[in-house]
């Protein structure tokens, strides 16, 4: 059983409603979804990217914003259909269909969330709970 010693609660803006919880994966670099992610296993394939080789599948993904190809929306749709999408997305400016998405948090999430943290997202209420 997980031992939670402290929970940080942040309010943000709901972009796409839904609830999810899981392990955080943090990218300080923007993410390009089209050609930057393998749709079968969710691995980041962009050469030189800080998350190169890591999979976003089933994670609570935190990244600053999208970049690159404008075909990315279709890739996110494929990831969702293939069940290789992140469980939720925390961004500083993004819209992604079908996955809970939250942005504009009251504090900088990059200061508070590290890889592996257990994070709960309630995009309907606009809440992020980080269990430390």
């Amino acid at each position: 059983m997980r031992r939670i010693t402290m929970a940080i609660i942040l309010k943000g803006r709901s972009i796409s409603k839904g609830c999810a919880e899981g392990e955080a994966l943090v990218s300080r670099e923007p993410i390009g979804f089209n050609f930057g992610i393998h749709v079968i296993d969710g691995a980041i394939t962009e050469y030189n990217h800080e998350l190169f080789g890591k999979s976003i599948k089933g994670k609570i993904l935190l990244f600053p914003h999208g970049k690159g190809s404008t075909g990315g929306s279709y890739v996110v749709y494929q990831l969702a259909k293939n069940k290789t999408a992140p469980r939720a997305i925390i961004a500083v400016g993004a819209i992604m269909g079908g996955i809970p998405v939250i942005d504009r948090l009251e504090k900088d999430p990059f200061d508070l969330i590290s890889d592996g943290d257990h994070v709960r997202v309630d995009a309907g209420q606009g809440l992020v709970v980080i269990d430390k």
Binding site: F35, E46, K67, G72, S73
Partner: protein, 406 residues
């Protein structure tokens, strides 16, 4: 978000399910970005059409939209697809079949099958200050920056939604106040070729995030130079608009480009460009089995230059040279004999597809040489290729010798 009566009726489904879906997408975007209303757009350009991006899930989604009666109501062009409709490039049969199904679904919706990332080379040229809803990151930046049209960085589905409704939410780059520069890049090094412009774009795109870059010091760049600059900006970053002082319409002067805003200044010297070129190179093995030129799709002028480099020469028998362009330029280049010269040298001029969105890896290539910063950036992730990045002359030498000797 205020809707007009007709827009409300569209949202309620009076014009069918696809228009209702389209309105829902546009309203959701408008609400997120704080738009007050929707505005009319003159044209749309839909991207993300490769089977790699759509997958079977996206293909079926597009076919369902077409079956349910989706029909565009404004000029809506289509981006690059993953096959060449004019010739057999020996790509896998299932790939070709499904890729053609995607293209046909969109054409059934009334979209124009330009199959190109450079619709403006096919005659689709938005005017200064015209509101449009284009996807294809490089075309977005060209329209906004070089032509002075007004476009947010649309994704494939939101561009289609605008095509189906003739509207887009009023926010972002449709508004004057968001079109001013944020960072000044002082370019003190002479840019000699497309690879230099590409390296500059790639460097600046990575530095700038979502802000608006302003370049000062560009020496009379050609249209192709600007095409490579912005394709690199848009692939390595999230840029949707740049200004170049004395070159692009919204930047007659440095002050004009920033509109009185405070700005950061960054110097660009040969060091930054060299570093970036090295970053775009991911290959170690000097044996090159695949050379690809034309990302974005080649202009007629680029094809003509290639004939000069290739006339009387022969591509190495262990190397494949593909030159990507679109149907319009290909047709003209055939008429003018350029395609013949390239074919006589053992190269292949392709239309509709490109390396990133096509599937050349299915033919077993491993190491790519290209002059395109956009292709160099995406090919490792999209195709699994190791990449040499350099000028078109270096790439043609690699094609002829089968090795990278620069």
């Amino acid at each position: 978000l205020q809707l007009t009566d007709i827009e409300k009726r569209m949202r309620e489904g009076e014009k069918g399910k696809p228009v209702r879906t389209a309105m829902e997408i546009l309203i959701a975007l408008g609400e997120i970005y704080g738009a007050e209303k929707l505005i009319p757009v003159r044209s749309a350009h839909v991207a993300g059409l490769s089977l790699k991006s759509h997958g079977i899930a996206g293909m079926e989604w597009a076919e369902d939209m077409a079956k349910e009666g989706a029909r565009v109501c404004i000029s809506t062009t289509l981006n690059v697809i993953g096959v060449d409709r004019s010739q057999d490039l020996h790509l896998p049969e299932a790939w070709v079949r499904d890729q053609l199904r995607i293209g046909r679904a969109y054409e059934r919706m009334g979209c124009i099958g330009t199959s190109s990332c450079v619709p403006y080379y096919c005659g689709f040229i938005p005017r200064y200050q015209e509101h449009i809803a284009w996807a294809e990151s490089s075309a977005v930046v060209f329209s906004n920056s070089v032509l002075g049209a007004r476009d947010n960085r649309e994704g494939g589905p939101s561009a289609l939604a605008s095509g189906l409704t003739g509207r887009t939410p009023l926010y972002g780059l449709h508004l004057d106040e968001n079109r001013k520069g944020d960072v000044l890049f002082k370019v003190s090094v002479p840019l000699r070729n497309l690879a230099d412009y590409g390296a500059l774009g790639s460097y600046a795109g990575r530095m700038i995030g979502t802000r608006v870059p302003v370049f000062d010091g560009l020496q009379q760049p050609s249209t192709e130079d600007l095409v490579y600059l912005r394709a690199a900006l848009a692939s390595s970053g999230s840029v949707a608009l740049f200004h170049a002082v004395g070159v692009t319409p919204e930047a007659p002067t440095v002050e004009g480009a920033f509109g009185g805003k405070k700005y950061e200044v960054l110097e660009i010297t040969a060091k930054e460009l060299d570093e970036r070129k090295q970053k775009l190179t991911s290959a170690k093995d000097r044996k090159v089995d695949y050379v690809a030129i034309g990302c974005p799709h080649c202009s007629l002028k680029q094809l003509k230059e290639l004939t000069t480099l290739l006339r009387g020469r022969r591509v190495n028998k262990e190397t494949t040279l593909w030159v990507h362009t679109n149907v319009a330029i290909n047709y003209l280049a055939k008429q003018l004999g350029y395609v013949q010269v390239i074919e006589d040298a053992g190269g292949v001029v392709t239309q509709d597809l490109c390396t990133i969105l096509g599937n050349p890896e299915a033919l077993g290539f491993e190491t790519l040489a290209t002059d395109s910063p956009k292709m160099a950036f995406y090919a490792p992730g999209s195709n699994g290729f190791h990449v040499w990045y350099g000028s078109v002359e270096q790439c043609i030498e690699a094609a002829v010798h089968g090795t990278w000797n620069a």
